[in-house]
Amino acid sequence: SDFGRPATPDEIALWDIDVRPDGKGLPRGSGTVARGKQIFAENCAACHGDNGVGGIKDRLAGGQGTLASATPVKTVGSFWPYATTLFDYIHRAMPYQAPGSLSVDDTYAVAAYILSLNGILPAEGQLDNHSLPDIRMPNRDGFIPEPEFSGSRK
């Protein structure tokens, strides 16, 4: 073709960071809640507060049961439908000033810790590329897909 060049598998792998609800795209790795607590204190708490609450930026825990109230609190625990999104988002975008600086294992760990803050994983829990997609988030059924744009949805 006159335009562009073929992409090599190696370079695609470098950029192919997206993760689907079925776990497709998750890199091999694992991390414990305990390790995540440490990562979080070092890399995240400055903005999100200790325990993911009361920071200068987005609150990450709590709020369950508030969605139908006058003052809903939307957090990973109360609102997010898929745990895979948590890995995907931290991996691509956090920590805010240096995204991509956490290792894959540390990303699993800190995701595990945030889930534990929300009572979704126990304090001694851990997370890996197999267990993550199996987690059923509390608000999994909280979304109504727009009919117009759901035709192509599986």
Binding site: S1, D2, F3, G4, R5, P6, A7, E11, I12, W15, D16, I17, D18, V19, R20, P21, L67, A68, A70, P72, K74, V76, F79, W80, P81, Y82, T84, T85, D88, Y89, R92, A93, Y96, Q97, P99, G142, F143, I144, P145, E146, E148, F149, S150, G151, S152, R153, K154
Partner: protein
């Protein structure tokens, strides 16, 4: 307060008593590479941090609103186009920027910016609107807001770039690929799943030009996605990856954000189209009008297509009159409307209501809230009411 009927960027009111007071003609500035704005014009966006968080440190700003009360016509100058950036505006080196197209395609390809600029191109007028536009008025209406505060997250440009369809041909997209992930080269790597409806496939543009010139960094330089009529954040800035698949990826921006929480605690998801909308920009919040003749002017737009009609009420939505539309009204672009009005000096309320060529009518606030509740945060398109008090002061009110 500024003078409502002027609604302009020009400072102050008339100050030369007779023609004798008009300054003498005198030689002006040399001609140069760029035409600067007048030193008498104060015009700029307002960086904000979310509903009610208005005078923030720039480092905390998440969007910057366009000065609708100072704009005329339909086009927004590129430097005044509203901005919503999730991790600031990177100034990417175009020679090092790439677009990777992969996933469910027969040919996985990498394009440089030069590759894209060499392809057949299309230009069209289209509005972009942040999903959060209007979010100041979900629960209450602060009386001291301008239309820049209430509606400044919408702008209209002429966008130029490559039709997505042309790229689909080059990579030979598989028929089973019904969704496309678009990802930005910003620090946040903002990514959205886009359903490949016929309309989106036909109209999507990989754009490099805005109003004739290269897109500016705040708006996605060197390339961004343009999806006319669809919510702002789908129009991925600093575009660097398109991946084809058969289901949505459920990124943070289509689950945690940009979903609309209803009163029952459920949230609407993939409500991608920006709805039929309008707002009166002259006179509008914090302006001052005088009894007698006043021209009412404003902007209407719809993600469904062309604006077909705008009605104005000057008695608080009791009776309505057709406004005059500035033609041609282009599909999925803002359309300017105006109407003459003689204000009798008594307190009243003015409202606009638009209808598009598909028959969609902009809802009044009560029916809108009855459907969406007050927690939805995004996709607010209820009619905007401005109250006018005895002294001619114009204020933001719910209805």
């Amino acid at each position: 307060t500024t003078t409502g009927i002027v609604g302009s960027a020009a400072a102050g009111s008339a100050s030369a008593e007779t023609l004798a007071d008009v300054p003498a003609r005198e030689p002006g500035a040399d001609l140069g590479a760029l035409s600067a704005r007048s030193t008498y014009v104060q015009i700029g966006r307002i960086p904000e941090a979310g509903p009610g968080r208005r005078n923030v440190d720039p480092a905390d700003a998440i969007n910057s609103k366009a000065p609708l009360q100072k704009l005329v016509g339909a086009i927004t100058p590129s430097d005044l186009h509203y901005e919503r950036s999730h991790s600031g505006a990177p100034d990417l080196d175009p020679s090092k920027h790439r677009l990777l197209v992969h996933g469910m395609v027969r040919k996985q390809l990498v394009f440089s910016v030069e590759d894209l600029k060499a392809m057949p191109a299309i230009s069209r007028m289209a509005f972009l609107e942040c999903t959060g536009n209007g979010w100041e008025n979900w629960k209450k209406a602060d009386g001291n807001l301008t239309v820049q505060n209430t509606h400044g997250l919408v702008s209209t440009s002429e966008w130029t770039g490559v039709p997505l369809k042309f790229i689909l041909g080059l990579v030979e997209k598989e028929t089973a690929a019904t969704w496309m992930l678009a990802e930005g080269g910003d620090a946040a790597g903002v990514a959205r799943s886009i359903p490949l409806t016929p309309e989106i496939v036909d109209e999507a543009i990989i754009a490099y030009g805005q109003n004739g010139e290269p897109i500016r960094p705040a708006h996605g330089f060197p390339i961004r996605l343009i999806l006319p009529g669809m919510e702002g954040n789908l129009n991925i800035k600093w575009l660097r990856r398109l991946k084809f698949g058969d289901q949505p990826w459920m990124t943070r921006w289509e689950t945690a954000r940009y979903t609309q929480l209803l009163a029952n605690g459920k949230a609407r998801q993939f409500q991608l189209r920006m709805e039929t909308n309008s707002v009166i920009t002259q006179p509008s919040g914090t302006m001052q009008i005088r009894p007698g003749y006043n021209r009412i002017s404003g902007l209407a737009w719809s993600g469904h297509g062309r604006i077909a009609r705008v009605e104005i009420s000057t008695d608080g939505a009791k009776t309505w009159q057709d406004a005059q539309l500035n033609l041609p009204a282009l599909p999925k672009a803002q359309t300017r409307f105006q109407m003459d009005w003689i204000w009798d000096g008594r307190p009243t309320k003015i409202v606009s209501r638009s209808t598009d060529d598909k028959g969609n009518v902009q809802p009044d606030r009560d029916s809108f809230i009855a459907t969406m509740g007050t927690n939805a945060l995004f996709h607010y398109n209820a009619q905007q009411t401005w109250s006018i008090d005895q002294a001619g002061g114009v204020q933001n009110v719910l209805s």
